[in-house]
Symmetry: C2
Subunit: 192 residues, 2 copies
């Protein structure tokens, strides 16, 4: 923890604060207070606030890739892997209830800001979409694999938004169970 570079500490603090407070509403003063450096020191590591955002998005892309790889390693069958994806709603439920989904809320904010990095932020969605599509393709849903991936992604987003609005963790549990039931209906032939 203490041997991390200042640059990495800034990125991690920004990652956290952008999620909790939003990108636009998080100031350098906020990040500086968190990392315990002066505001002027930022500009040795980054040219602008937008550059910090890009670094945060890059970090999230990297972490998402790691997570998907891990699920691919842990889950022998595509069904198990997709199940892992669905269950992040429960794994991260405490944070989701407070701040929603980090991917969806950042994408929505950058859309409203008409921010140049909006497309980059959406690559996190694309990563999940393609990975889910690959799993559904492995299940035998050739042409419908992408549509099924988008369906699961959308339902996860909706659960995050509504559970956060109503502070309802039971709703998360209900919907996760329903999505798993739905998944079983789409379990064609995996290995056979």
């Amino acid at each position: 923890m203490s041997d991390k570079t200042t640059r990495d500490q800034i990125i991690e603090a920004a990652d956290r604060l952008f999620y909790q407070q939003g990108f636009d509403h998080t100031s350098f003063a906020d990040i500086a207070a968190f990392v315990k450096i002066s505001r002027g020191n930022f500009y040795y590591h980054f040219k602008s606030k937008d550059e910090i955002l890009d670094a945060v998005i890059a970090l999230r892309l990297q972490n998402t890739k790691k997570m998907l790889k891990q699920w691919e390693k842990d889950g022998a069958q595509p069904i198990d892997r997709i199940g892992s994806f669905i269950h992040i709603l429960i794994t991260n439920q405490a944070k989701i209830l407070l701040y929603g989904c980090p991917v969806g809320t950042l994408s929505s904010e950058l859309a409203k800001l008409d921010h140049k990095s909006h497309a980059e932020a959406n690559q996190i969605f694309s990563l999940c979409r393609n990975w889910l599509g690959k799993q559904f393709a492995a299940l035998g849903h050739g042409d419908k694999a992408d549509a099924l991936a988008m369906h699961i992604l959308a339902r996860s987003q909706g659960v995050a938004t509504l559970s956060s609005a109503f502070q309802d963790d039971k709703f998360i549990a209900q919907e996760v169970a329903q999505m798993c039931d739905w998944l079983q209906l789409h379990a064609k032939n995996s290995t056979t």
Copy 2:
């Protein structure tokens, strides 16, 4: 249009700009330029920016009530009424692709800002939830009516978020069709 009070013009401009740019990112200067009044004039009509937000939320609550009443009038059967709700995704698709759902994105933003009016903004969700629950109850789903209402609400939110991220109007059409299919499966006895 021209005989509207300045106060109403401010509220309508704020309603539009809060949706397109976000609440926090919209300044008095933005609203003033839209309504063509001076910045100082705001404070004759409102005490603070938060008061404008409350007025905007009150307006949205009022408009939502009107819309739900109209659907109840137009649709003879609960199935038709729920169908009207699902189809707002298509009716408002142009705006949704650009700015997402006005209810969901405002709720998410106010959650991150830890804003005191977050609960008020969520009343728009509650309005829809209770109305949908009433329709499902009329369909004969006594104890499951609220869960079905939440399910439809969540799926609508997810479709709004993802279609906006991927700029995909075909995805909206696909999911709306699927939601209508799902709805038919839940069409127990309505009038009989």
